[in-house]
């Protein structure tokens, strides 16, 4: 279907907020594993406007699937860094007509959302806040071997990129950010 909507005007562009990298331990033995957790959120206009009222507008304009493509990883090294691990994944918000009276008590706001996380089955969020958390808040844990790092002190930083297409929530775009470096020792 040719979609003839105009994205909502005046919304602030999405940006990455609060990216952090947390190791399960400050040091790791060469033959042991270390968990590195990347956390960040997408903030900005599309997140603020991600509510039932806008879902309704999106649905009425055949803009029924909102995809967010994430590229998350960890780099090792200072100025010249090397990618240690990386993962690309897609989260989707699919707008649908619900018949659940809990979500749609007086049938005035019939459209609700399903969030599909990384190819898993859809989850129906309990409320708008829950839906924003599921779509825009990311927490990824990567498990690496001490041997992947090599013996010695290492500077590690997380990076994240998010990209999206043109939807009622805004024009197409992308954003990226790198975390504050941390130091991990491999013995």
């Amino acid at each position: 279907m040719e979609r003839k909507f105009e994205p909502l005007k005046g919304l602030e562009k999405l940006y990455i907020r609060g990216i952090s990298l947390t190791p399960s331990s400050p040091s790791v033995r060469f033959d042991e594993t270390l968990d590195l957790t990347v956390r960040f959120s997408l903030a900005g206009g599309a997140r603020d406007a991600f509510n039932q009222e806008t879902w309704h507008k999106a649905y009425e304009n055949w803009d029924k699937l909102y995809r967010m493509t994430y590229n998350v990883g960890i780099k090792k090294g200072g100025v010249i860094s090397k990618t240690l691990v990386t993962q690309k994944f897609v989260r989707k918000a699919s707008f649908y007509w619900t018949r659940n009276p809990d979500l749609n008590p007086d049938y005035s706001k019939k459209i609700w959302v399903m969030i599909i996380l990384e190819g898993r089955e859809p989850t129906i969020p309990k409320d708008e806040g829950n839906s924003r958390t599921m779509l825009f808040d990311v927490e990824k844990t990567f498990r690496v071997l001490g041997s992947d790092l090599g013996k010695g002190k290492h500077t590690l930083k997380a990076y994240a990129k998010a990209s999206w297409g043109r939807h009622i929530f805004g024009e197409k775009g992308s954003t990226k950010k790198i975390s504050v470096p941390i130091t991990v020792t491999c013995k």
Binding site: R67, T69, F95, W97, R99, I116, G165, K172
Partner: protein, 555 residues
């Protein structure tokens, strides 16, 4: 049609163990609209609803929670209809069907009943007109009425109805059937399917050619099993029907109604039978039974079978040739439609039914191994759908369509494993043609090279889900120029089917007087069965094991 809509207070979902979602249904006794909870138990999905008058009704909804989860990933609401015949503001499913402003799928397949007379009198069938019943009517719309119905179908927007099934009763009982088919084609419908028991074609093989010439695309042939016991309807006749279609180059879809404890042990044999006739049999449409009439829970448990159960039976009975992982829900083809829409900037025919309504897969015949190879064995379907979804978004965000087409062409081969592909098949070429030409003939070409296996579970009053009904795309056109979803038309016949047939039909006596025929005159008397000697039966009948064959004497 006006009904009092009273919606009961919902049950607190937090109190339900393994709750999945809440929807609405009807009380099987009084048709009161009720909130219904869908939940998981013992790896299966159930629906429960409580009527304040008639108590709780719990029913198996989907035989596997794992498959439910996989299928639900493809839930995608469709375009609906922009030209509703029943404009209403508030959704009131299942009342006021027609299609109303709130329906979420355009017609995928329109059905037109051209007669409710039948040449068989199957005990379980509720569809044909019976003598001796009070208020029995012969329903046979006139050519003018039928033309108006087809025009209503074609007036749908944004996608005019383009696929039509002529159904009954037994449609071949109407002598003007070829004229009806020609009229439908003249009105611009591309695909015309004939729902039949095939007996008249077996008796008069030239009818297949006549129908083909008139414009029938394929037969939708009732076929409940490979033995006379499981398929008393047309066990002896079906091979003759298929042979007549073979000579006329008319495709056949086998349609088994699947009933637990009756014929669910033969789903694999039906597939084998289709395989031996793969030059003519284009598809199998397994239909898990819809339980009509008042039935106790025990009886329902005896007969109830759902899509995942049938899929598991097919896997068991084909020794894993077609596994449960090979099946996808029907709406999984939405990314393909959306890509073509974004590419052409035109609304396209879409199968946007609920994920629990239907499933399908394509199988290809490998001439070397003589085995069936499901498409999933050599095509990364999931990857391809993800890729199409991504490219659709790029197109809709303003990307150059020629650049996207080039990316598509360069990538399409990577989804096909050529080593595992059956010999002589170039699926990438077929897919490219089907996607970029996006016309009826290129899709037809794809079908000629494969066999489609489908499952379609029509609802009944016990498992009825308004979320499914609202997305139904198998519709009936009626002389009052409405387009009614299958699962309203047949699940609540007292509001739809029976009422319409009574209004537009005539009493049997009047019909007999008008036509000079007796209703029972055209009943099939089993002539083919009586004339075939036992040894011929063994050769001709469709049973794969001779031990199953038992001569029967017909109706």
């Amino acid at each position: 049609m006006a009904q009092l809509i009273h919606i009961e207070k919902p049950i607190e979902t937090s109190k339900i163990k393994n709750f999945i979602r809440q929807t609405q249904s009807v009380c099987p006794d009084c048709l009161k609209i009720l909130p219904a909870n869908v939940f998981e138990r013992d790896g299966k999905v159930f629906m429960s609803k409580i009527c304040p008058t008639h108590g709780e009704c719990e029913e198996l909804y989907f035989g596997s929670y794992e498959m439910y989860k996989k299928f639900s990933t493809y839930w995608m609401d469709g375009k609906g209809t922009l030209a509703p015949n029943v404009p209403i503001e508030k959704c009131a499913c299942p009342t006021n069907c027609g299609l109303c402003s709130n329906h979420l799928s355009h017609t995928g397949l329109g059905n037109m009943i051209i007669t409710n007379r039948c040449d068989l009198t199957c005990w379980y069938c509720f569809f044909y007109v019976k003598k001796g019943l009070e208020g029995a009517y012969v329903y046979e719309p006139t050519m003018e009425q039928m033309t108006a119905m087809i025009r209503t179908l074609r007036a749908q927007r944004p996608v005019p109805g383009n696929s039509m099934q002529i159904t009954g009763g037994e449609p071949t009982l109407r002598d003007d059937l070829p004229e009806i088919v020609s009229m439908i084609k003249r009105e611009g419908v591309s695909h015309v399917q004939l729902n039949t028991n095939g007996i008249n074609i077996a008796l008069r093989p030239d009818l297949a050619m006549t129908l083909k010439k008139a414009g029938v695309s394929n037969l939708y042939l009732s076929f409940d099993g490979t033995t006379a016991k499981t398929n008393p309807k047309n066990h002896w006749e079906a091979p003759h029907t298929i042979e007549a279609c073979r000579k006329a180059h008319l495709g056949v879809v086998l349609v088994p109604t699947c009933i637990k404890s009756i014929n669910d042990h033969e789903l694999g044999d039906i597939l084998r039978f289709a395989q031996t006739n793969i030059d003519t049999v284009r598809a199998i449409s397994y239909q898990p039974v819809s339980l009509t009439g008042r039935m106790s829970k025990k009886e329902r448990e005896k007969y109830r079978i759902t899509i995942p159960d049938c899929i598991e039976r097919v896997e068991e009975q084909t020794n894993g040739e077609v596994t449960k992982d090979d099946w996808f829900p029907i709406p999984s083809c939405s990314p393909v439609t959306h890509f073509v829409e974004a590419f052409t900037k035109k609304p396209q025919y879409e199968l946007s039914i609920h994920f629990a309504c239907g499933a399908g897969t394509y199988v290809f015949f490998d001439p070397e191994t003589k085995k069936l190879i499901p498409i999933t064995k050599f095509v990364d379907i999931k990857g391809m759908l993800e890729f199409l979804e991504e490219k659709t978004e790029e197109l809709e965000s303003g990307a150059n369509r020629y650049l996207i087409a080039a990316k598509f062409l360069s990538k399409i081969n990577s989804f096909v494993n050529k080593e595992k592909q059956p010999k002589g098949l170039s699926l990438a070429k077929l897919l490219t043609a089907a996607l970029l030409k996006h016309d009826y003939s290129s899709v037809g070409q794809f079908h000629l090279n494969s066999m489609f296996l489908g499952m379609m579970h029509f609802q009944d009053k016990y498992n009825q889900d308004e979320e499914r009904l609202q997305r139904c795309d198998i519709h009936y056109v009626t002389p009052d120029l409405r387009i009614i979803p299958f699962c309203s038309f047949n699940v609540i016949p007292e509001w739809y089917r029976d009422r319409i047939q009574q209004k537009y039909g005539i009493p049997i006596e009047e019909w007999e007087k008008k036509t000079g025929e007796k209703l029972e005159q055209r009943l099939y008397r089993g002539t083919m069965r009586r004339n075939i000697q036992k040894h011929e039966m063994n050769q001709m009948a469709c049973a794969t094991q001779a031990a199953h064959i038992e001569p029967i004497t017909g109706t």
